[in-house]
Structures are given as structure tokens and as C-alpha cells.
Point group: C2
Chain length 276, copies 2
Amino acid sequence: MALRDTEDRIAANSTANDLADASAAHVRGLIRKGEITGQTGGMALGQMQGNLAILPADLALDFARYCQRNPKPCPLVGVSDTGDPMLPTLGVDIDIRSDVSSYNIYRDGALADSVNDISDLWRDDLVTFVLGCSFSFEEALLADGVPLRHLEADYLVPMYRSNIATTPAGPFAGPVVVSMRPMPVSEAIRAVEVTARFPMMHGTPVHMGDPAGIGIADIDNPDWGDVPEIRAGEIPVFWACGVTPQAAVQAAKPALCITHTPGSMLITDLPSGRPA
Amino acid sequence: MALRDTEDRIAANSTANDLADASAAHVRGLIRKGEITGQTGGMALGQMQGNLAILPADLALDFARYCQRNPKPCPLVGVSDTGDPMLPTLGVDIDIRSDVSSYNIYRDGALADSVNDISDLWRDDLVTFVLGCSFSFEEALLADGVPLRHLEADYLVPMYRSNIATTPAGPFAGPVVVSMRPMPVSEAIRAVEVTARFPMMHGTPVHMGDPAGIGIADIDNPDWGDVPEIRAGEIPVFWACGVTPQAAVQAAKPALCITHTPGSMLITDLPSGRPA
């Protein structure tokens, strides 16, 4: 994945800064009106943001099992009723057809389209799954004083396929994809302590130290995101990542699957600091 | 519910004492052979024990949603594949048809039978759900020095219907059923701290202090279990209880539902002290 375009990034950051203190409902309202169509990082700080996967009902029980069996990469924070576009357990008046800024449409496992509204694609057999994402635990780490290099240096967090297998369920299987944040060992220990409180946002790291320990041959060659900067005295710390279920869904090749576009999350009314 | 018969209790305690240090696999082997047909409390200490609900597949997605929406009363620790009696995510060679000491068979919501093996009832459309239970968090509280009156005084923990509603899913709905343990305020604070580490075993209390705060009119008149002994200087502390999903399932009146008989849990290979 290439570096994001600098001008886009500055524009997105500017919008995010304006909306950092906005309510989740306000930001969702702007999204529903089409006034925000991109990244949601930094908006409505303090509100939990989530990854999205919408699947036909005949795959929903297997996907629920996949999440239950792999809670670190797939922390399930909400499931809709079949055919119901609303998500009352995650917030007031959340309509999943219009309240995410950008959606990826996968057909038979291949990206077919990216759109800003899926009202015309909604069907009576669709089930929405919302999974915890790393934004919330990064907020907690920053609040605790743990430095996060990719935010300081403004690059995308690097992500890697590990050699840790997820526990399969039906057609869903594949490796745990991990995100990596470099830090001194003392901060890594503190990061374990902090993220232990957030099992619904990937929880504690799955690995730290030697990348080869989880099958990563070249730390400077991530499968997604940017090349990291690891300074002397720092170790890489690896967390299970929300790309894991996305990769598993794409490999399962369902006739239809709708996800958020990376970085364009669902902003819920739940407090991001609430552990579970 | 009446007090248990004293002789039965002594016999059960004697067996439990003999098997306190046994492995989960050893105890499951005795259960499979029909040599244990009753309570499993105190056996294979250190191994997570779980509540059981087996349902037809057409209700499984709604029940998975019910658990996701109500994690304190319904902490989901395992789900089988449809029609598969084995539970590889919970342990080696666990056959749910034979490895629980006593099963309750519900037909249309009514208790129809209690049996020690369900091999003849197994069907290709059944799905097994295993939920965390209070045995593991009681182990953690005792290890931390928090006193548990019902164990000291050898009575059944009292359980009450609260006025807290669960979040419904499909046909599953109803009040949160709570268990109550009396203790001094200082121990109650410590109990919150300890049980916060165990979200998969009901987690932190849902209430403490005035029973009326959650709609309990008479603390001396529990809906299940024994009348409690609350001493001067103690407050009642209430945790969400595994009877909640059982009551929801019975109210939903599925044509068939199979649960464990209260106290006769599935003993898994998972460490009971592992938080999540």
C-alpha cells in the first residue's frame, strides 16, 4: 500500500481536528448527509469506532462462530437482527445503510465497488457485524503516555500476515494479521497492562520482540500499511488486527460482503474507554 | 428450591475432594463411563467449568446474538459446528453427548427428562453453546481471600429475578437473574477488582447494597437456591447468573433444548484462571 497523498491527509486531519470533540451522533449525521466521505480517525474522540462486515444470513452463524473463536482479532461488539439495518445496541438511530462514510462492496471475494451509501444494496437477509478496532486502544495508550510512532511520524501502522492460524469456522479461516507498534521494552510492558483492560479492542499483544517468532521474515516489508521506523533500544510489539476477519471473509468468497473502507469506521455511541 | 439432602451432599463433597486435583480429561472420562452422575463443583480445580445449552440450528444465530448482547449473564466461551458433537476449542476429545454428568431435556420449554447421556437424542441440526459459570470466579475470589458465605455455611447460593431486562434477540428475552453473596463493603470493593479480570465468568457485579435497587423486594425469599445469611456490617453483592439464559431459553419454548442439570457442568481443558 502506498503512502497516502499528503494533501488528502492534511484535509482529513483538518476535518478530524474540527470534529474531535463532536458527538458520535453529530458525526454520523454529517456522514449520512454525505458531508464526510473519508477517514474517521480522530473524530468524536471518546466514542468507540468499529470495523464493519455485512454478510448474508446463511453465513452469519459461521461468522459469529469465527468471531467467538478468535476474540483477539475479531472482538464482536454488535450484531444486527437479520434484515434490520438499525443497530440499537450500539447507539441511537444508527442506520448501517447510510451512517458509514465509505463502504467496500465485495462480490465473490473481489472488491467490486466503493460507495458512500448502501441503501440500494440492502436486503432482507443481510446481517451486520461490528468489531472493535484499534482506534480505541490507541486512545488509551496515548492517554497513558505510551508513545505511538506511526501517529507521531504520521505514517500508516504496518500490518503483517503472521504464522498464527485463526481457529476456522465454516468457510472462514486464515492467518492472524497483526499490526506493529515499536517502543522501548518498559513501554511495551506498560502497553500490555493498559490493553489488558480492552478485550473488545484486540486486548493484549499477541507477540513482542523477534518478528520471526510469528513468522514475519522482513519487518521492513509489511503486507499492508507503511514501512515502520524502529529506533535503537526499541522492540516491535504486535497486536491482532481487524484486517484478519476482512482477509478471512475475502478468502471465503461470499457472493456478497460489504465492509467499511479501511479507516472509515462506524462511530458508535459506546464509550471507547469502557473495557468490555 | 429445598435444601439439598445432607447425605447426598456429603457423598458429593467426598467425590469432589478426591477429584479436586484430577485433570479435566480424567473427570470427563469418569463421567463418560457413567461413574460420576452428579455435581461437578470442586472437581478438577483450576479448569474452567461451563454452563451448557444445546439448540436446533434455526435458533442458533438468535441465541449467539443473545449472548453477544448480554455478556455478563451469558459469557460465550464456546460454540460447536452445526451437528458436530465435539468441542475442540474447549478441550481434547470432548464429546458433548456423553461428557456432562447430567442433562436436562426441555421440550417446548418444559422439563421433560433428566438423563446421563444424550447420544440417542443427537441430531445433525444441533448446535452446542458453552457459557462461563460462577465456579471459576468463586475460585479466584477464594484465592484472593474474599470470603464466600454460601460455601462456608454450605448452602446453595441464592438467586433472584432482577428488574434489569436483558437485551432481546429473536425469541430470547427476560430479566437478568442474579446470584447474591454477602460480604463487608471492603471485601465487596476487592471482589469488584478481582472479578473485573474475568469477563468470561460473569465479570464484575451488576449491583451491590439495597436489593430494591434492582427490584428485589425480599432478600430472604430467593427465586432459586437457599435463604442467605447476611450478618451485621455486610452488604449483598449481586452478580449476573447463568440461570438468565436458561430462563430465556425456557421462555422461548423451543421444540428441543438440552442443558446441563444445575451443578453438573461441562469441565473444559481451559484454565479457569485465564481472564478471557
